[in-house]
Symmetry: C2
Subunit: 431 residues, 2 copies
Amino acid sequence: MAPIERISVGMLGLGTVGAEVFELLHDKRTLARSPVPARVTRIAVANPEKARTLPASGVVVTGNVWDVVEAPDVDIIVEVMGGVEPARRCLVRALQLGKAVVTANKQVMSQAASEIFAAAEASGVPVRFEGSVGGGIPLVKPLQESLAAASITSITGILNGTTNYILTRMERDGAALSEALDEAQARGFAEANPTEDLDGSDAAAKLAILTSVAFHVPVSIDDVFREGIGAITFQDIAHARELGFAVKLLAVSKIRDGMVEARVHPALIPLDHPLARVPDEFNAVLVEGDGIGQVVFSGRGAGGPPTAVSVVGDILDVARELAAGNRSVPHFYPAVDNSLSMRPMEDVVLPYYFGLLVVDRPGVFARVAAAFGEEQVSIASIVQKSRGQTADVVLLTHDTPERLVRKVIARLKAMDVVAQVRAAIRVEGTL
Amino acid sequence: MAPIERISVGMLGLGTVGAEVFELLHDKRTLARSPVPARVTRIAVANPEKARTLPASGVVVTGNVWDVVEAPDVDIIVEVMGGVEPARRCLVRALQLGKAVVTANKQVMSQAASEIFAAAEASGVPVRFEGSVGGGIPLVKPLQESLAAASITSITGILNGTTNYILTRMERDGAALSEALDEAQARGFAEANPTEDLDGSDAAAKLAILTSVAFHVPVSIDDVFREGIGAITFQDIAHARELGFAVKLLAVSKIRDGMVEARVHPALIPLDHPLARVPDEFNAVLVEGDGIGQVVFSGRGAGGPPTAVSVVGDILDVARELAAGNRSVPHFYPAVDNSLSMRPMEDVVLPYYFGLLVVDRPGVFARVAAAFGEEQVSIASIVQKSRGQTADVVLLTHDTPERLVRKVIARLKAMDVVAQVRAAIRVEGTL
């Protein structure tokens, strides 16, 4: 490509993140760091009639994304509208037209990355997506580039701020889940519809992106097992704490025996685990691999200003390449590892925590223990706490394939002496 | 530059890091991630007669660095020998000859970066130095690129593993400094001559590099104030703990009122500070700035394997650029901020912790307090613990310019009732 002397940015979306991107990109400190002048010339918004105060004049505002995507004078498309469609079609088309792409869209990057990168490679233009995971925490680029020579074996993340805030409030103050959720919404970091936070979908999209980048294998959100925090109670958080564990919604991907497992679920982690004390709405990612040991990245994982820092960092990056007239160097899958396949969830092996409510009478303890033994599940510890008519049984297993755990749960639920299988929570980060 | 089809790497040094770099670069997983074949063709070592088992044949081993630097067939110089000379001359010459440079040398990058980058820019070739700070923790590139749009206001780091290990052992087990140092040496992460670890020089070199990158201003190691951990005692660590603080050797740089302060010294930090629980030989860096809030990077900050991951990551990066025939895009000081100047240490303002041994008799407490008042130093809290003939006085000040603290120390030392000014330690990370 020929070097260019000024860069015209077309934006898709002007919501919370978009407005911050617009402002930060035109900040004089940012402009001083761009090799050539870069400014937004076109923006597509949902409702162009709505009056907007834009901090720069001469910007064309349109209700039609294609007015931006197809505009011959736009060099970089910055997509901050979210959702799979029409984002996917816009990005693919922009790349086909030879425009560079910067996106903060976790949905499209966790569902259509392969298609987007094929289009980018065909045109020789860059795609950057640091803002799609972890807000202002540098993750994508460090995994793609700085740690390119590390043989990464696992990624363990707290990737959803809302659920981490809820679990923190439950643990610290004994708050109920619904109460903590209301608070998160009042403080502005839970969505009005928090379903995707609570059920693990938000974290699963981000994990799919990080897993793809770290393991050089295309992983989509559909490859990620998901279980939300809906069943977590203060009681189990308190029991876990007594046993030396914190309860977190973890996003985990690992390579074991040539297979990749990728899963989002609540987990007990030891209190001295690097993620055990990540508080409130903070995010953190632990990367483990040969040579590097444990590397942890943490910070504010969401919100307009942090995400805008990542998006504008990507824009500056692309601007440097365009200004130099460089051919794009694809970074997404520097070498797709075709030898890896996904491990089905029922074959994943982990220790498990069980919280049971049982009838408190002689022999029950032995019958519960026998249910585990009959399914070949080995118990590491079991504690029974009498509560009058009933008793709480708190139990930890040794490493167990998920498939057997499911059988044990079915067996326990069928037992007349078991009033409730309150919790069956995976244990992560033990040796 | 024209694209090249195979990359020849010349290494300077084959010590702990160099041997790991050699091995990792020729690992088949690394080769799979390089866009074109990259291999080491020449190595300069201190003692070429010493028998070496190199995992690749056809490598020219020489005792003369210039045989590598001047070799026309070498595309990338990888410098892992350390020290300022002859590294500085080698790197500058290599860049003049149009060779790309990857270095893990904190000394040369904290003392001659401006000269090296001027040579790189003149030739249009890249210089990468991720391995010079923080071992396998990605720091340089995230600061240069991912966080390029953040207005960074401070960097706070634990950048020396040996001293952090010593302080951890002292705090946890009441070990003496000398005992903990012996252990660190036995475990292989303190140098045989640990002076540069203990006196803060090692951390100061790394801080100079990070400060330059984060604030876009050339900061050399000579601009960094240094105070080591030699005067830290278990007694003060225990007192600090009671007051809610941990004691760490911190490397801090900040922009305040248009001036940069850069300093390495022991500091009390609140127990809930993101760096308070960084254990043993681990390193961590807290980056604060507008928009991003607090971002923390942590991991193993030294050692052959982690540092080799950073060095080989840089080599792969450079290889991608060379393979694409790209013009180098300089990243070191994307825009030097000429408006910033260094704040002299005596003008730095911080709260201070004092540990004093005084004669235990009536009126002494008041005389000590008066000494602070006479120098206009405001006391936040003061506790006196009788020990028979003498008493321990533990005192925290409010924010105080260093200049006044020095006057107070001189005044206290001259008082007949003060047996010892055991400790005067800065306090960091309070509001």
